[in-house]
Amino acid sequence: MRTIGDVAQFVTSKNAGPFLLTLDIVFPDEATYRTFKSLKPLDRHVIAGLYGIPETDILKIIEFDPAYAVKVTMRRPLGSGALGETDVYGAQQHVPLMLHEIDWPEGR
């Protein structure tokens, strides 16, 4: 088992407008990216579980070949800067995804 953070070059979160969070996983090379894609480790159910939110709040999971990247876009529980909100820029919501374990093939 490896975490996504172990195999990715970057795992980041950021606002995409005041009401969405977008999480980017960028892989260091094409081979790692292809391996990750072939394992299909992320779907709405998995990501919703990592963040404790309904699957309907996970809006998009997009594979972006030109950057060897996978993007996940979700609704924020609260808009950026709303009362009770904790992360105006949305820049520190990446950890559950980064620490998510996947069945990585040995030797890759």
Partner: protein, 463 residues
């Protein structure tokens, strides 16, 4: 091959095979590196274009009508741009002036601009473009069914419009072109789609809209699309008939296919599609090619026209905020932090009731960073940080309720308590900090319009 001095003039099609845009930085006031500016200008750019705003720092700045950049820093960067514009007579385009891009934000930047011109004796034909929305106009659009939610599920209501402190719309490239048509050499615009600021002159010169906007989308963050990605920096874009090329003027940085492609992900919900006023750019057939060790060429981006819509951004004032910051090192308290805070809340409720204010606890070490998205239940820290926050309708009520919350948190007892002199360590005196007005985003919608210029008044002003 440039079109020097072309601002306001007719551009002869035959003379323009390519156009160079210099984005001196990703955000006006973040610090243009001197060397990057010099190297960038050595490439004879046809225009200096910069984005000056964002919703990213949250709702306060739009609501309060204040910039989130420092006046001194903005003046320094703008003076560098104007010095180049004065020497070379190339246009300067600024979008989302003052951060929020509302009327007071534009006025603030115009004031900085005039101060520079006065001190240095610069004279430019100058245009402002306002982006603040008239509420009556928006009520009529809403009533006519021309407003739809974006990223949120709530339809816009008359009450939400009435309660809004300020509403702006993001303009496209057309109002910038209109200002250039009037002969403007410097354009200071309110809220604008960041890519449109950079794309405006190339589109006006007849270059492909999709490529110009895609180039704008990369340049709007300045050097962010180059590696190593640290500090505010500049980026050059050169557009020709079939492609555009991006390259950092800073010789210590490079654009790689990875750095440019990865930038398509940044702060966007979908890397393949970017919606703008009047359509979207589509990256499904875009290719990125390393044409020199430091430059990347992009081609194949397409434009998909759509009905003309503008993105609206609006905030309402939620009240006045007071906060205090404290911490505990006591494992007996930490083990029952939730019950202890509920006890504090009840104590406040006994005095002030439960309506007319919000009392919020930010507990660092428990879920202070992720709030509702935190799934870890176990606290493993040896200390906890606590920010107590009160938001109420007026500043005095807010301060009074916060003061009671703070003293209740300091002195309330809990089972097994040993430290009876006080529960919290406060790092500051005074402990209670008045944070001023608190705002929330309430409007994030699209409004359909008939004319790209419908909302945005171009006005020529004195420099």
């Amino acid at each position: 091959m440039g079109v020097r001095g072309a601002a306001g003039g007719q551009l002869s099609e035959a003379s323009i095979h390519r156009m160079t845009v210099l984005a001196p930085e990703g955000m006006l006031g973040y610090g243009i590196p001197v060397r990057s500016m010099e190297e960038g200008l050595a490439r004879n750019p046809d225009v200096l274009a910069v984005d000056a705003g964002s919703t990213d720092p949250g709702p306060y700045y739009l609501g309060a009508g204040v910039p989130y950049t420092s006046r001194r820093a903005v003046k320094r960067d703008l003076a560098m741009m104007l010095e180049a514009a004065n020497a070379r007579r190339i246009p300067v385009l600024i979008g989302s002036a003052g951060g929020g891009g509302g009327r007071p934000h534009v006025a603030w930047l115009v004031d900085v601009y005039r101060e520079i011109c006065r001190e240095r004796g610069y004279r430019f034909r100058t245009a402002t473009i306002q982006a603040e929305i008239d509420k009556a106009w928006l009520q009529a659009k809403m009533a006519a069914g021309r407003v739809t939610p974006l990223d949120i599920s709530d339809p816009l209501t008359a009450e939400t419009i009435d309660a809004a402190t300020r509403i702006v719309a993001q303009m496209g490239d057309e109002p910038f072109q209109a200002a250039l048509d009037l002969g403007a050499e410097v354009v200071i615009a309110g809220r604008a789609c960041d890519a449109s600021v950079i794309a405006a002159l190339p589109i006006r010169a007849g270059f492909d809209r999709a490529l110009a906007i895609h180039m704008g989308k990369i340049l709007e963050c300045g050097g962010a699309a180059a590696y190593p990605r640290h500090g505010s920096d500049s980026l050059l874009g050169v557009i020709d008939g079939e492609s555009f090329t991006v390259e950092p003027p800073n010789p210590d940085k490079i654009c790689s296919v990875a750095s440019v492609a990865a930038h398509s992900l940044y702060e966007r919900s979908d890397p393949y599609r970017l919606a703008l006023p009047g359509g979207a750019i589509d990256l499904t057939r875009t290719t990125f090619e390393q044409i020199t060790p430091r430059a990347v060429q992009v081609r194949g981006t397409r434009f998909a026209p759509a009905p003309y819509t503008f993105k609206l951004e609006g905030v309402r004032r939620a009240g006045f905020r007071t906060i205090t910051v404290a911490g505990t090192r006591d494992p007996i308290l930490i083990s029952q932090i939730d019950a202890y805070l509920e006890n504090v809340r009840n104590r406040v409720r006994e005095v002030y009731g439960s309506d007319g204010y919000r009392l919020l606890f930010h507990v660092y070490g428990r879920d202070g960073v992720m709030g509702g998205l935190e799934t870890a239940k176990e606290i493993r820290s040896h200390e906890l940080g606590l920010v107590i926050e009160v938001v109420a309708d007026d500043a005095e009520t807010s301060a009074a309720i916060l003061a009671l919350s703070r003293s209740a948190a300091l002195h309330s007892t809990y089972p097994g308590r040993k430290a009876i002199a006080g529960n919290l360590a406060f790092p500051f005196s005074p402990s209670d900090l008045r944070a001023g007005e608190a705002f929330e985003f309430t409007i994030h919608h699209l409004v359909e319009v008939a004319d790209p210029l419908e909302l945005f008044r171009v006005e020529m002003i004195d420099s």
